[in-house]
C-alpha cells in the first residue's frame, strides 16, 4: 500500500514539467520539502502541565531529520466546484507515515456570498489554524495550539460560510464536524460530534495598514478522548481518557504594515490569539487496576503574541511569546495528576526568536531559538529548518 502511494507521488512529480504550461484542465501540483536540525538542552519526556496532549503534539526528535513534507493537488473541478487534496508525509519513529491532511471540495458559484466546503479540511477557527505548517512564521505551533488542538484542528465535515456584501470584510461561518479526531475524540451523535462558529472582520487603514479580527467557538460532546500514555512505559501503559462536554472560545487579531502597501521590500506584522477551554466530565485511566477515575472540571487558557519584521527583501526576523494557564479540578487529585491535567502550580511559558532567509519566494531557510519553560524542566531549543516549495505556486491567504 505504502509503495503504491510512493509510486503515485513519484509519478505526479515526474509529470510536473509537462504541467509548467499550465492549462485549466490540469490540477495544480505543489510539493513542500521540509528538513530540520533540532537540538534540545533537556531530553526528559515532554509534557505540558495542565493539558492532556494529543497524539500529534509530541516534539520532534533530536538532530538532523525530515520535517513535514506535503504533496498537494488542487483544481477547479468545473465552474461550480473546487477540489483539493493534501497528503502530509512525515517520519515517525523510523516509519514513513502518509497522512491525509486535506481532502475537500468547495463551491465556487453558490451566489449571494455563500460558500460550502465539504470533506476533510483545516477548521477556520482562529487565525493560524487554516494555514499549512509551511506558511507559519515559526517552525512549531504556538503552545496553545499544541495544548488544545494537537497543533492544528483538522476534522471531517461540512462548512457553510457567508461573506457580507460590504466594504468592510465580514465573514461568518458554521462548521459541523465528525469529531473523531483530537481534541473531540469519539464521533458521537452519528458522526457530527463537533461544531464551530466563526466570524472574521477586516479591512485596510490607509494604504499601508491592514487588519483582521476573528472570533471563534468550538464545542463537542466527547466520549473517550485518549491522550498519549503518561510516563510509566510498561507493557500496558495507563492511558488517560476524558468524556464530557468541551467548549473552546477564541479571539485573534492580526495587523500588518508595509510602506505604501508594498510588502516586497519591507513589512511588519503583529499577531495575537487567545483561546480558553472549559471541560466538564470524567477522566479515567484505561488499563489501571483497580480503575482510577475522577470527575473533571477543566479550565485552560492561553495566548501568544508574535511580531515579524521583514527588514530586507529576503530577510525576516521575528519574536513570539507564549503563555498558558490551567485551573483544573476534580474528585481525585491523584488520577488528575497521572492524567497530566494537574499543573502543580507550573505556568507554561516560551519565548522564541527566529531569523529566516528566503532566496526566492519558493525557498526559505530558518533559524529558531526558543527558551522553553512550557514544562518544569526548562529547555533551550535550537532549530534550523529549510522549507522549499516545488511546483505550482499556491497563493497564500492573509
Amino acid at each position: 500500500m505504502r509503495s503504491t502511494l510512493l509510486l503515485v507521488v513519484i509519478t505526479l512529480c515526474a509529470w510536473q514539467p509537462a504541467f509548467a504550461a499550465k492549462s485549466n484542465f490540469n490540477p495544480d501540483i505543489s510539493l513542500i520539502l521540509d528538513g530540520r536540525y533540532v537540538s534540545y538542552s533537556n531530553t526528559s519526556d515532554y509534557e505540558l502541565p495542565g493539558f492532556m496532549l494529543g497524539p500529534e503534539a509530541e516534539r520532534s526528535g533530536q538532530g538532523l531529520q525530515l520535517g513535514h513534507g506535503e504533496l498537494s493537488l488542487s483544481a477547479n473541478i468545473d465552474d461550480m466546484f473546487y477540489g483539493k487534496l493534501t497528503t502530509a508525509i512525515a517520519d515517525h519513529e523510523g516509519e514513513t507515515e502518509i497522512e491525509l491532511e486535506e481532502a475537500f471540495i468547495k463551491t465556487l458559484a453558490l451566489g449571494n456570498g455563500f460558500s460550502i466546503k465539504a470533506g476533510r479540511f483545516f477548521s477556520d477557527i482562529g487565525y493560524l489554524n487554516n494555514q499549512h505548517t509551511h506558511a507559519w512564521d515559526f517552525t512549531d505551533a504556538p503552545l496553545i495550539y499544541r495544548g488544545l488542538f494537537g497543533n492544528q484542528l483538522i476534522d471531517d465535515g461540512l462548512q457553510i460560510s457567508w461573506l457580507a456584501p460590504t466594504d468592510l470584510f465580514l465573514k461568518l461561518g458554521l462548521e459541523s464536524l465528525r469529531g473523531e479526531r483530537f481534541p473531540a475524540g469519539g464521533a458521537t451523535n452519528n458522526g457530527s460530534g463537533a461544531y464551530t462558529l466563526f466570524a472574521k472582520l477586516g479591512g485596510d487603514v490607509g494604504i499601508s495598514h491592514s487588519w483582521q479580527l476573528g472570533l471563534s467557538h468550538w464545542t463537542a460532546q466527547i466520549e473517550n478522548r485518549n491522550a498519549a500514555a503518561h510516563e510509566e512505559a510498561t507493557a500496558t501503559p495507563e492511558i488517560p481518557s476524558f468524556s464530557g462536554d468541551s467548549t473552546i472560545n477564541g479571539i485573534d487579531f492580526i495587523w500588518k504594515w508595509a510602506p505604501k502597501g508594498n510588502k516586497r521590500e519591507r513589512y511588519l506584522t503583529f499577531q495575537a490569539e487567545y483561546f480558553e477551554r472549559n471541560e466538564n466530565g470524567n477522566i479515567e485511566l484505561i488499563n489501571s487496576s483497580p480503575l482510577e477515575t475522577s470527575t473533571y472540571d477543566g479550565k485552560q487558557s492561553g495566548w501568544y503574541l508574535q511580531t515579524v519584521y521583514k527588514f530586507k527583501p529576503q530577510w525576516r526576523i521575528g519574536y513570539r511569546y507564549d503563555q498558558l494557564k490551567a485551573n483544573n479540578s476534580g474528585s481525585d487529585i491523584n488520577t488528575l495528576t497521572e492524567a497530566g491535567v494537574n499543573d502543580q502550580g507550573h505556568k507554561p511559558t516560551r519565548s522564541s526568536l527566529m531569523l529566516d532567509y528566503s532566496h526566492s519566494e519558493y525557498s526559505r531557510i530558518r533559524l529558531q531559538l526558543s527558551k522553553d519553560d512550557s514544562y518544569p524542566d526548562s529547555d533551550n531549543i535550537i532549530m534550523i529548518q529549510y522549507i522549499m516549495a516545488l511546483g505550482t505556486h499556491g497563493a497564500h491567504s492573509f
Partner: protein
C-alpha cells in the same frame, strides 16, 4: 413602523451606493487597467484598483479588504499571464463571487488579448520567476493597448448591453485620440531608437520593443531575485564594453542596486513611472506615456 422600515432599507442601500450608482462595478488588478476602464466606461462604471504604482503586482497579499471588493465586483480586469498567480486565485476563491471566476465573462485578462514577448521555450524555476505565458507587462506598448481597449469595450457591452451605444461612442473617441497620440509619441521618441538601457526587472520589454530601445541588462540576476554584488560586477563589465544610456526602475522598486551600478559605471539612474497614479503627471494613460517619453528623451539629450 413603515417609515422605520423604509429608513432601514435606505440605510442598507446607502452601504451599497457604489453599485447602485454605476451600472458596472469594476475592480482592476493593476492601476493601468482601472485607467483604461475609466476611459471606456465613463459614468457608467465605478472602478477601483486593487494595487497602486508603489506596489509590486507580483507580490500582493489576498487582504480582507480585497476579498470584500472582489465579492461585489461585476468585472475583474487583470494583466494575467500568471502575473497575479500569487494572490488572485485566492481572492477569486475566497470571494464567493461566481461572476468573476477565470473563464467567466466577469474576468478579463488583458495579456490574453495580444501577442506576448519573452515566451520561454523551456521553463524551469532555476530561471527565476518566469511566466509560461510570456511577459505579462503588456500595457507599456500603446499599440497593444489599442487592441485590449477594443476587446474590453466588447466585454463591457456584453455585461451591460443597455448602454451599448455609450460604450461604443466612448471607444471610438478614445481610439481616435489614442492613435493620434501614438503617432506623436513615436515621432518624439525617434532619438531613443537603438539606445541601450539597463532595467531593474523586465517590466519594460513592451515599451522598449515599441520604441526600439535595447535592454543592456537587468539588475535582477534572475527575474524576481534581488541584485547581488557578483551580478553587478558582471553588468559593469558588460557596460564597459558596450555602455548604456540609462538605468531605469519603477517607483515600487528599491533603487539601491540601480544607484550602486550607477556609481560603478557612471550611468544615470531614472525612476520611471510604469503605470498610472501615484507619481506626478500620470493620471491617465495619455499622461503616462507623455511622461515616460518626455523623461526618456530628456535624459538622453
Amino acid at each position: 413602523m413603515k417609515k422605520f422600515f423604509s429608513l432601514a432599507i435606505f440605510i442598507l442601500l446607502l452601504g451599497n451606493m457604489n453599485i447602485a450608482l454605476a451600472d458596472l462595478n469594476i475592480l482592476s488588478c493593476e492601476p493601468e487597467w482601472a485607467s483604461l476602464a475609466n476611459e471606456l466606461g465613463g459614468s457608467h462604471v465605478a472602478v477601483h484598483s486593487a494595487t497602486t504604482a508603489y506596489q509590486d503586482p507580483h507580490h500582493i497579499e489576498a487582504r480582507p479588504s480585497l476579498i470584500a471588493k472582489v465579492r461585489r465586483a461585476d468585472l475583474l480586469i487583470c494583466s494575467g499571464a500568471e502575473l497575479e498567480s500569487g494572490w488572485l486565485p485566492m481572492l477569486q476563491r475566497q470571494s464567493s463571487n461566481a461572476t468573476v471566476l477565470t473563464g467567466k465573462s466577469g474576468y478579463f485578462e488583458a495579456a490574453q488579448q495580444v501577442s506576448r514577448l519573452d515566451i520561454p521555450k523551456h521553463i524551469d524555476r532555476s530561471m527565476g520567476d518566469v511566466h509560461a505565458s510570456g511577459n505579462p507587462h503588456v500595457h507599456l506598448d500603446p499599440r497593444r493597448i489599442s487592441i485590449i481597449a477594443k476587446a474590453l469595450t466588447e466585454r463591457l457591452i456584453k455585461l451591460d448591453t443597455e448602454n451599448t451605444r455609450h460604450y461604443q461612442q466612448r471607444f471610438d473617441k478614445f481610439k481616435t485620440r489614442w492613435e493620434k497620440a501614438i503617432k506623436r509619441w513615436e515621432k518624439i521618441a525617434e532619438p531613443l531608437k537603438g539606445k541601450r538601457m539597463v532595467v531593474h526587472h523586465r517590466d519594460w520589454v513592451y515599451l522598449f520593443d515599441w520604441l526600439g530601445i535595447e535592454i543592456a541588462g537587468s539588475l535582477e540576476p534572475k527575474p524576481g531575485l534581488p541584485a547581488t554584488a557578483n551580478h553587478l560586477t558582471k553588468l559593469k563589465q558588460t557596460l564597459r564594453d558596450n555602455p548604456a544610456a540609462l538605468i531605469v526602475h519603477t517607483p515600487y522598486q528599491n533603487n539601491r542596486a540601480a544607484r550602486r551600478l550607477s556609481k560603478l559605471t557612471s550611468t544615470d539612474v531614472m525612476e520611471l513611472p510604469h503605470t498610472t497614479g501615484g507619481t506626478e503627471q500620470t493620471e491617465t494613460l495619455f499622461d503616462l506615456f507623455e511622461t515616460i517619453i518626455s523623461k526618456l528623451t530628456g535624459a538622453i539629450k
